[in-house]
């Protein structure tokens, strides 16, 4: 009897193993296609300039070298530390602004009543249809007139206008039971306190999701910073990478060292918090639906 129970389970387990092997055979080529270019980038960052052009490709640097990094760090024309700090500030402060403003607006559209609410909300939806190409030039000219080009403000405040976060926060504020707010109102709590102390902690998950989504967007963005930042010291990493890669810097190793510096923090962060990040990306990415 014991055997009769164990046996099918073992068979199911065997099938699980067989399926896993089959799936890996299937997905291994794709996994390699995904991994190889990234490993190549890492490898080239540690390859001597003289060996960059070798063919067949020298996959493992021989000898491994830090010279590419040294060259970047000493070159006054490539203030990569400054770019790193710029990226960090642009992304963290920008994200904080987005999360705070989105949660405020999302809360209002989910839980508060005011005249014109429906109209204002449809205005936000309408703006989703407008590709950024249209707003690019006027927004640039406006920032130029305000003398805000080449400052962090040129990235923070246009980012504050983004609407996807509002949809995400609104959805999650909807799911809070109304009794909680009523109880707080009876106790004499102000509107802002109800939002801040009661509702906000309940949507922490959505805020984390939005934070991840917005941070990655700002950290990686190239197009907008390329337009509003032109002074060397004001650049963010993605724009700085173009400076390294283009222009008079034909040194190939430097571009890879720069790419390494720009991607390692996010890749390590991703590896550690992969579960949260993936969940966050799905939640936040679907919010515009």
């Amino acid at each position: 009897m014991n055997q009769a129970i164990v046996y099918p389970e073992r068979r199911r387990f065997g099938r699980y193993i067989a399926r896993s092997v089959l799936m890996w055979l299937f997905f291994l080529p794709l996994a390699l296609i995904v991994v190889v270019p990234v490993l190549y980038m890492i490898s080239m960052a540690f390859t001597l300039e003289a060996n960059q052009m070798k063919f067949p490709i020298e996959w493992i640097p021989n000898p491994p070298t830090l010279s590419n990094f040294q060259k970047i760090f000493v070159d006054p024309q490539l203030p990569i530390v400054r770019w790193f700090v710029n990226s960090l500030l642009v992304a963290t402060v920008g994200t904080a602004i987005i999360v705070f403003l989105s949660s405020l607006s999302g809360y209002a559209f989910a839980r508060l009543e005011f005249p014109g609410k429906g109209f204002l909300f449809s205005l936000l939806i309408f703006s989703l249809m407008i590709p950024s190409a249209v707003t690019l030039i006027p927004a640039f000219l406006l920032l130029r007139d305000l003398k805000l080009l080449n400052t962090y403000h040129a990235i923070w405040w246009p980012a504050a206008a983004s609407v996807t976060g509002i949809f995400l926060m609104r959805q999650h504020f909807f799911s809070i039971p109304g009794e909680l707010e009523d109880a707080a109102r009876v106790d004499g709590a102000s509107r802002f306190r109800i939002y801040w102390q009661i509702c906000l902690p309940l949507v922490r998950g959505a805020m984390v999701a939005l934070f991840i989504f917005a941070f990655l967007g700002l950290w990686n963005d190239l197009f907008w910073p390329l337009i509003v930042l032109s002074e060397r010291a004001a650049l963010t990493l993605p724009v700085g990478l173009l400076v390294i890669q283009q222009g008079s810097y034909i040194q190939r190793g430097l571009a890879f060292a720069g790419a390494f510096i720009a991607s390692m923090p996010v890749l390590i962060f991703y590896a550690i918090f992969q579960r949260k990040i993936i969940a966050g990306i799905v939640t936040a990415g679907l919010a515009g639906r």
Binding site: P37, V38, M53, S105, S132, V163, L237, Q245
Partner: protein, 309 residues
């Protein structure tokens, strides 16, 4: 009779009450005010301003801009480079979206049910999406390089084939950029499809199995139709994103050979920030936006019809 004497005062009461309610609701605007300020300044106002600028021969250095009506649009209609870049962009977008959707569907189907390491693969397949497009560009240059490229390395050493000038061939350059983009972005639709597939009730599959349907049949008749809302979302967002492609051609090919891989957004960028013709660039942006809005609406209607069961 009594009502007629009462009604004016009742109306007054009602009005008073409405006024009271409004006064109570007024502070609620404070919640949306901060976002709405930036939204108006950096999104709403620029939309109308962009339309206006497109009617001027706008030069950045001038104090007074010359109004030229629809001349920019007339010039645009005859602008061969614009039409070519638009053509390139549409070709690139269709290729990328189709490949992305097919690959993502395929991978999602495989990863839907857990197996040893399935979660690892999911994380791995999304990983390229974490990279900045600048990094993608730097890697992409070397993937496709004719002399020392990764792809030609495998073709020459493992398959004994010739070196292929991927990016030097006008017919091959856009597919190459599309493949690069798929490598970078297919993880997101994959995640979305997996989530969508988990929302399909399992009894449907069990019923199909009892009826003797094979895996291909269940995919065609259950998974695919029930995934349509998710598909709509993926196709529309992917379409909007890839129609605005800029960095891949800008970094990897510089728009070449000739104009073979120049995208519309790249042309817009160069018109404005290389040649400082902001009026003309604005008219490009307006036309681009119109095309995208029209196609989005069409996509919506097409897919809506197919999702209604």
């Amino acid at each position: 009779m009594a009502t007629s004497t009462l009604s004016p005062s009742r109306a007054a009461v009602a009005q008073n009450q409405r006024w009271k309610q409004l006064r109570k609701q007024l502070p609620n605007y404070l919640f949306i005010l901060p976002h709405f300020f930036f939204f108006s300044v950096f999104l709403l106002y620029p939309i109308f301003r962009g339309l206006q600028i497109s009617l001027y021969d706008w030069k950045i250095m001038l104090k007074d801009q010359a109004f030229i009506g629809l001349a920019n649009y007339q010039a645009l209609l005859q602008d061969k480079i614009f039409w070519q870049t638009l053509n390139n962009t549409v070709y690139f977008t269709v290729l990328t979206v189709v490949m992305n959707v097919i690959l993502a569907l395929f991978v999602a189907t495989g990863l839907k049910h857990p197996f040893i390491g399935s979660n690892f693969l999911r994380v791995l397949f999304y990983a390229p999406g974490i990279l900045s497009v600048s990094v993608l560009g730097i890697i992409g240059i070397r993937v496709w390089d004719t002399q020392i490229g990764i792809l030609n390395y495998f073709i020459t050493t493992m398959l004994g084939g010739p070196r292929i000038a991927w990016l030097g061939n006008p017919d091959m350059v856009i597919p190459a950029l599309a493949v690069t983009t798929v490598w970078w972005t297919f993880g997101f639709p994959m995640l979305v499809f997996i989530a969508g597939m988990h929302n399909i009730p399992e009894p449907l599959y069990e019923a199909a199995k009892i009826d003797g349907a094979g895996p291909l049949q269940t995919f065609r008749h259950i998974t695919l139709p029930l995934l349509m809302p998710t598909m709509l979302f993926v196709v529309v967002t992917q379409f909007i994103a890839h129609m605005q492609v800029f960095a891949q051609p800008y970094i990897i090919t510089g728009g070449g050979p000739g104009n073979a891989s120049r995208s519309a957004t790249m042309y817009l960028y160069e018109t404005a920030w290389k040649f400082f013709r902001f009026g003309y660039a604005s008219s490009i942006s307006v036309v681009l936006a119109l095309i995208m809005i029209v196609v989005t609406v069409i996509l919506f209607m097409l897919m809506r019809r197919r999702t209604e069961y």
